[in-house]
Assembly symmetry: D2
Homo-oligomer: 490 residues x 4
C-alpha cells in the first residue's frame, strides 16, 4: 500500500512518537474498541501499548511492552471493565525501553483516579516538574506525561474539571494532543497551535477520540471533525454526546506538514483532506516541477508508492511514455533486530531489506521516487543497488522539500549535522548518493497540495524557523512564547 | 511490493512450510551468510529458525523460536564456528509449536555429526520410522525430518556418502528439497520430481544452496542454476567447487505451480523465469481472458499487486481508459495474534487489516485483483468493505485457476470441504461473495506464462490429479508410486 | 533450626495461607522495611509477594510472583514512594496461580486509593460479593480480599474511616487479620475471635503491624503487643503514634493452636509466649505422657526439632540414658518442583528429601519426634527409611493431638477422608505406618503448654467443633453465628 | 540438620564448585537416576544443571540454568534416551552466569560423541588450550572442561579409550574428578592426588559414579568404594560390571580436608568415614582442646550443628552442666537475591537470615559453635546479635584450624587479604568480632578425627603449603610439578 510507516520505521526516516485514543460508550465495555483503535494506530508507536478504563467505581489498567497484539491477551482486555477508556501506543527508541515510561500514565490520588495519554513534546516540562517536586510530588519517570498528570491532579483538588484543564494548559507549553480520563470522564485536548493531530468520531453508542481517522474507521465509526487547536472536548459519561470548550485561541495554527507527507496513514483524513490523495497530488506536482525523462518510474516501497503513482500518472497524462513498475522487492520481515557485525555487513544491510527486480531496471533509465531524505545513507545504497542491477541511468525525485533542521515538536528526526541537506545543495547530494539527478519538491507545492498557508503549518525542519522560541533557533511567530527545551521527550 | 507472503500469511491463502539453506566457504565462517539467507527466506516460515555449522572438528548448532531476528542474537551466530553450515526456517502452525520439531535436525551418532533441513512432505514416513524404531532408534519428534536423518545416519555407518544418500532416496517417497551436512560436507538433494524448489549459487569464496534465488542475491552471490530433480549436489569442503550426481531420473517433473503464483518472492528466479514477470504476464492473460470494463483496477495488497499491474497495463495498452490505483490500505502490524472475542468482531477482523481508500472506490466501478481464493470468506468481506465505501460496481478477477482440491505435497491448504471452488461455479462464488462478476484464469494461461507443459507441473490442487498416488485421489502419473499419507508432515 | 515451615511446605503438613504487614513512618520511605518484614514472613506464603505504598499524594504498588526476593528488584522497591506501606505474602496452591489473586489488593476509587492485605478465610464472601455485584461492582478475582476492599470502599464514600471499618466488620464474617491503607493511613484489623495472629511493633521512627513478631525483630523494632480480637488500630500518618478502637467484643477468643505447634516461627512471640519454648514444653509433656525407652531420640527435621529437644531433655532429667542426635539429613534443595514419573519413583520421593544418618540409627532403638501427622503417608516412608538403615525398633511420638477434621479458618489442611486419624486409633496408625509404637499428645497438654483454656482456642481440626457454625459441622459456641462456606478462600 | 551447605551458600563460607555423576544401566533409561543423583548433589552447585545421555546410536543432552528442579521438566528428562548418562551441577558465581559454561560439556566430533563433567581446577589449562587452538580447535568458553574434552577427543581419533585417557592425564595438571561419556561408554577419572572426591556405587541393574555417596543412597544403590587417585573406572555398557585401570600412581594423596569439615553432606561417606561422625568427633576434640564454661552451647545453624552436638556431649560426659539449645532461628528463604541498598541495611543483612531466640541467650553465658571463619564479618554480626538479645558472655569455638591462605584447587575461598586469620591471632580476632573468647581447633585434631596423616591431606588454606607448585606459594611436595595458574577456573 502507499504510504507511511506501515511495517516499522523505514530506514532513514523520521519517527513519530505516539498515538492516543479515548472512548466513552453508553453501555458497552470500552476496552475492546480502544484496543482495535490502537491497532489502527500501531504505525505511530511500536514500543508499548496500554489502556486505562474506569467502570464508574474504580479504575483498571494494563500496559504491555511491544506491539498491541503482544501487549494484550484476551484476559487483559476482559479485565478492563467500564464504558470509559483511554489508550496509547508508544514509539520505539534506541535507548532505555522500560515499562515505567509506558502510557497511559495513571495516578491514583486523593481526588480520584486520573489517566493520561500524550502525543507531542512539552516545552517547559523540567520547570513544571521541579516546581511540583518542590511541593512533594514523587516522579517515577522523566517523561512529560507524568508532569502533565501531576499538575492536572493537583489542580483537580482545587477546581472543577474545565478550570483545572485550563489552569494546566496555562502552565505547560509545547506540542500536545492528549486523551485524559478523570474517574470515568474522558477528555481530549489539543495544544493551542494544533501541532499533532487529534480527531473526534461518533459510534452507534458513543464517541471516540483518536490521533487519526483511520482508527475511527476500524471500529466502524464516523469521523465528526478534527479537535480544534486549544479546544477541550469532554465526552459525556453516558455516551450520548460531548461538550466543547475553546480554552485558548491563537490567530494561526502550526500543523505538522510531515503528517501528510509521511507519518499519517494514507487512508486517514486530516482537516478534510485524504492523505493518500495529498500524496498523489504531491507526486503530480513533482512531475510538473521536476519531471525527468526515463523508461520507468519506480517507488521506494512503501513510502514512495503514492507519490510515484501520482508522478507517473501526471507524466503519462502529458503523453510521456513512461512505465510505472515495482523495481525493488521489500523483505517485510526485516525488523528492528538483525545482526550486522562488520562495516561491510552494515553496507549490505539495505540488501537484506530491498532486492532489485531485474526486469524493471536492467538496461533502463530509472526514476526512483521517495517522500524524503534524512541522512542520505540509504538513498546512496539504493542508487548503488539499482545500478548494480543494470540501470543505465538513475534519477531520484523527492516528494517534499529538503529537511535542513531538527524537529523540537515530538518527532525523532536527526541532529542538524546528520541531515544531509543541512549543508549541501541538491546537486551536491545527487553526487554524494551517486544519482544522475536529484530534485526535491518546493514548499509552495506542499502548501498547495495540503491546501493551507505556510503560516498555518509547522515546517521548522525545512525552514529552520519554528512556531515556538527554541533556544538557538529562529522563530516564525511572535517571540513571546517560552523556549523549548531541546532535550524534552515524549 | 508486488507479490507473495512478504508480511506473514495473508488471510485465506495457502501456507508454505519451509525454507532451506546450505553454505560451504573456503575460509570464512559460514554462519553469517546462512543467517542472511534465512532472512531472505523468512516468508517461507516464521515459526522457528536454526543453523547447524561444522568447524572441521566438531559440530555447532543453534535453533530458536520465532523470526530469524528473534531466534538469533550476535553471540549465537558468533558461536557457530566453521566454514560449513546449513539453515532452516519453519512454517507457522496452529497447533503445537515447540522446539523439538524445529530444524535443522541434528544427530550426533557414532559415524560423526549429521544435520538436515527439509522442505516438502514425505510419503512413507510412518513406515520408515516404524522400521527404524524396531531396530532401536529413539525419535524425539513425529516429523519426517528426523526419519530421513536417522535413515541416512544408519546408511552412513555402512556406505560412503553418495551411496548412503542414494539408498535413503530409494527408501523415502514424497516431495523433498534437502540441505544436509555430514561432518563438514554440505549437500543438496531434490526429490525425483522436483516438487519444491532448490537452487545453487556461487559466492566469491564458496557455494550456496537455497530454496530461492533471492537468498543468493541477499548474500551477494550469483545464481548458477536450479538443482535438478533427483540430483545430489555435494559442495567441496574447501569452497572451490561442487560435484553433481544424478541419482534418480524421471521422464517428467512435478514443479508446484503455486510457487510462481504465490509462494516465491517476486524477485526470485525459478528455472530462469523471474517470478514478478510471470505474475505480470498472468495479469495480462487475465485481462485478455476475462477483462471487464471498470473505472479503476485495484490490487488486494500485497499478493495481487503484480497481477493488477499487468492486468491494467494490458487494458491500457488496448486503449481501455482504466485507472490503476490503491484502494485498500493494509495495516502491516496485524500479526498472528489479536483478540476477536465475538463473531461480530471476527467479521470485523478484515477491517483491522484492510481499510478502503475512499477516493479510489467511492461512486466508481471497481475491479479487484488477487492471485487466488481458498475459502472465500475474506473475499466476501473485501467486497463488502469496498461496497460500503461507496463502490458502484465490484468485479473480482483471480490470476490463477480455481483451487478445488487439497495439497499433499507439503502445503497447508485447506480441506476439500472448506475450498469454496470445490463445489461451486464462478457464478455461484460471485453470488456468494457479493461480487458483480468473478473470473478465474485458465490453467492453459498458467502453463503458458510459466513456459512449462502441464505434464511437468503439479497442479493437483486445481485438477485433483496428483503426481503421486494419494489414497482416494486420482493420479496424473503412472500409478506405481506409493500412496502418500495425507496426515504426513513437514 | 527448630520449628516451622522454614524452607517451604514440609511433606504432609497443613499449609498456612498468608502473612500481612503494615508500616507507617515519620519521614523515611516505608517500602524497604515492609520488604524486610515480608522476608521474615516468607514461611507464611511463597506464591506471590506485594507492597502498596502511598506518598501523601498518590498510591504506588508492585506485586510479583514467587518469593519476596524474586518478586522485587531494587528498582521496584525504590519506586514505592511514601512513608506508609502495606505488604502481603501469599500461600502456594496446587491449582491456578496467577497475578490477579496476588495481594495487597488495591482499588483506585472515587474516594481515593485503598490497599488491603488479608490473612484468614471469610464466611460469607459470596453473599457480600453478590450484593456488591448487584449494585454494579466489577470483580477481577473470586477472592475474599476484593470483596472486603469493595465493601470498605463503598462505605468510605459515605462515612469516616472508623465507622466505615465498623460497618464492614458488621457485614463480613469469618477469620481475618487485615492490614489496610486508605490513601496514606495504615490500619490493622483483627476479627472478633482473633483466629489468625496480628501484632503491633514500634520502630525508632514509626509503627509496624505484622502477622508475627519475628518480622518486627527483623526491622529492628520492639514488639508492643498483640492486636486484640475485634480491635482496629490506626497508625498516625506522621509515625508518632497510633489509636485503638475496640469495635467488637466477644466473651471468648478462638486463637488457632496450630500457630504454636507448626505455623509460626519458633522465634516469634504470640500473646507473650515464645513459640520455641512452647514447643520444647510440648516436647517435655510428650515424654511425661508417652515417653518410651530407646537408644536415641531424633527429630524429623526441621519441624520436630524443638519438640525432640524438650522430649530428650525431660527424659535425661529423669535419668533416662537416651542420646539426642540427628538421624535424618534433609536435602534443603528439594523444592516444589521435581519429576516423579512413576509410582515407584513417587515412593522414593521422601528419599530425595531425607537420607538416614547410619551411625545414629543402625542397630539401635529409635524414637522419631514430629509435630503432627496429616495423611500419614510420609510417616510410613520415614519409618521404612529408618528401618532399612538398620534401626532395631522405631517409635513415633507426635507433639500434638491427632488431626481428625478439616479446617475452615484459612488453613489448607486436607479433606476428612484423607486424614489418617479421622477413622483410626493410634494403634491402628502405628500398624499402618509400620512403627513399633505411636503416641500423640493430649489436648490438655497443649492448652497447658500454651497457657490458655480450650474455650479460647480454635481446635476444630482436633475436636471437629468449630468457633463458627460450619454447615454440617458441630459448633463449640453459640449457634447464632452464620455458617461458614467451606469452599471459601484466602 | 547438621552440616554443610544444605540451603545455599552460607554467609562467609568457602564455595564448592561442582558435583558430577555418571550412570550406566543394563536396560533402563539412565537419565532419571542421574537427575535424582544431581538433586542429592545440589549443595555442590546451584547455578546450572545438565545431563548428557546416549542411546547406543545417538547422543542427547539438556542443560538448564538454576537448580536441578528448575533446569529440567519431565519432557526434558524423557527426551534423554539411553541407558548411559552423565550429569553435572555447577556452582554459583558472582559474575557472568551463562549457559556456555554450563556442563556437561559435549562435543560431537568425527570420532563420535563425547560428554564430560568436571569438578576441580586445572593447572595448565591455558597452555593446553593454546596448543589446541593453534591446531585449529574453536573454543566456546574459557573453561577447563572444554580443554579436557577437546584434548581427549583429539586423542580418541588416534588411540583406544584407555590410552587416550592416559595421554590426556599426562597433559593436564591440577585437581579433577571427571565423569566422561564417549558414545555410550561411561568413565570416571580422578586426578593422581585425589583432591576432589569421587565414589563408585552399585545399583540393581548397573553402576553409578558420583561426587558423594549420598547421591548413591538417593537412587537406592550401594556404595562400592572411592575411586582411587589416578584411577580410571570404565563402566560396562550393559551395566553388568566395570573395569579399573590405575593409570598414574603417586606416593601420597592430597584429599581436601574441607570436604569433611564443610562441603560434603553429613550423610556422605568419604574413605569409609561418615562425615556426620567426623564432625561430631571434631566437636568433641574442640571441647577437649578449648572447652569453656558457659550456660548454653548453641550452633550457628546449620553448619555448626554437628560440631556443637559433639562439643556439648563431650562436655556433659565430663560432668559439665551445660545446656545444648538452638539460639538462632534461621530464615531459610533468604536466597541469593535480596535488596540491601545502604551500608546500614547491609549490616542488618545477617538479621534477615538469623534471629536470636531470646529464651536461649538472655542473661546467659553463651558458647557459639561454627565450623570455620573466612572473612569474619558475619561472626562479628552474630556476636552482636546475641549480645543485643541479652547474652552476658559470648564465647566462640571453631571446629577447624584458622584459614590463612587461598585455595587453588577449585574452591572459591577468598583472597589472602580478605582472610581475617591471615594476619591476626585468635585473641585479636576475638577482639575484632567482639567475643569474650575465641578458639580454633588444631590441625592435629583434624587429622586425628579424619584418620589420615597430614601428608595425605591438602590443608593449603591452613598451612599455606600446597600439593602443587603454585606461583608465589610454598609447596608441601616435590617441587617438580607444574605451577598452578591462580586465575584458572572450574
Amino acid at each position: 500500500m502507499t504510504g507511511g510507516r506501515e511495517d516499522g520505521p523505514e530506514f532513514d526516516h523520521p519517527t513519530e512518537k505516539c498515538g492516543v485514543v479515548g472512548v466513552s460508550l453508553s453501555d458497552r465495555e470500552a476496552a475492546l474498541p480502544t484496543y482495535y483503535a490502537l491497532y489502527a494506530l500501531q504505525h505511530r508507536g511500536q514500543e508499548s501499548a496500554g489502556i486505562v478504563s474506569h467502570d464508574g467505581f474504580q479504575q483498571h489498567q494494563h500496559v504491555g511492552m511491544g506491539l498491541v497484539g503482544d501487549a494484550f491477551d484476551e484476559a487483559d482486555v476482559d479485565a478492563l471493565h467500564g464504558s470509559a477508556a483511554i489508550g496509547h501506543v508508544r514509539y520505539p527508541t534506541a535507548g532505555s525501553v522500560d515499562k515505567s515510561c509506558a502510557q497511559p500514565f495513571s495516578v491514583s490520588f486523593k481526588g480520584g483516579a486520573l489517566g493520561l495519554s500524550h502525543n507531542g513534546n512539552l516545552v517547559n516540562a523540567d520547570d513544571v516538574r521541579e516546581e511540583l517536586a518542590a511541593s512533594g510530588h514523587a516522579f517515577t519517570s522523566d517523561g512529560d506525561t507524568e508532569v502533565i498528570a501531576h499538575d492536572l491532579a493537583r489542580n483537580l483538588l482545587e477546581a472543577d474539571l474545565v478550570r483545572a484543564v485550563k489552569e494546566t494548559m496555562s502552565r505547560i507549553h509545547g506540542s500536545y494532543s492528549l486523551t485524559i480520563m478523570h474517574d470515568d470522564t474522558v477528555l481530549g485536548v489539543r495544544d493551542p497551535l494544533g501541532n499533532r493531530p487529534l480527531v473526534l468520531g461518533e459510534l452507534d453508542d458513543g464517541y471516540i477520540l483518536a490521533s487519526e481517522s483511520a482508527a475511527i474507521d476500524t471500529v466502524g465509526g464516523e469521523l465528526v471533525r478534527d479537535v480544534k487547536p486549544g479546544e477541550l472536548v469532554v465526552l459525556h459519561e453516558d455516551g450520548t454526546g460531548y461538550d466543547s470548550y475553546q480554552l485558548v485561541e491563537e490567530p494561526n495554527t502550526a500543523h505538522c506538514f510531515f503528517e501528510y507527507v509521511y507519518f499519517a496513514r494514507p487512508d486517514s483524513v486530516i482537516d478534510e483532506e485524504l492523505v493518500y490523495e495529498v500524496r498523489r497530488e504531491l507526486g503530480r506536482h513533482l512531475w510538473r516541477e521536476a519531471g525527468v525523462e526515463s523508461d520507468v518510474v519506480m517507488p521506494v516501497p512503501d513510502s514512495g508508492r503514492a507519490f510515484a503513482s501520482g508522478y507517473a500518472e501526471q507524466a503519462q497524462s502529458e503523453g510521456e511514455g513512461v512505465e510505472f513498475a515495482e523495481g525493488l522487492m521489500k523483505n517485510r520481515y526485516v525488523g528492528r533486530t538483525f545482526i550486522m557485525p562488520t562495516q561491510e555487513a552494515r553496507e549490505r544491510a539495505v540488501r537484506l531489506k530491498l532486492n532489485p527486480i531485474k526486469s524493471t531496471v536492467e538496461d533502463r533509465a530509472v526514476t526512483i521516487i521517495d517522500d524524503s531524505i534524512v541522512r542520505g545513507t540509504t538513498s546512496g545504497q539504493l542508487v548503488d543497488l539499482v545500478r548494480e542491477a543494470g540501470a543505465s541511468e538513475v534519477h531520484v525525485r523527492i516528494g517534499a522539500p529538503p529537511i535542513n533542521a531538527p524537529c523540537y515538536m515530538g518527532i525523532d528526526m536527526a541532529t542538524r549535522d546528520e541531515l544531509i541537506a543541512s549543508d549541501k545543495t541538491a546537486e551536491e547530494i545527487a553526487e554524494e548518493i551517486g544519482a544522475d539527478s536529484l530534485s526535491y519538491l518546493s514548499l509552495d507545492a506542499v502548501t498547495d497540495a495540503i491546501g493551507k498557508s505556510e503560516a498555518d503549518l509547522c515546517a521548522g525542519c525545512v525552514t529552520g524557523e519554528y512556531p515556538y522560541d527554541v533556544a538557538g533557533e529562529a522563530s516564525d511567530r511572535d517571540a513571546e512564547r517560552p523556549a523549548i527545551d531541546a532535550a524534552g521527550d515524549d
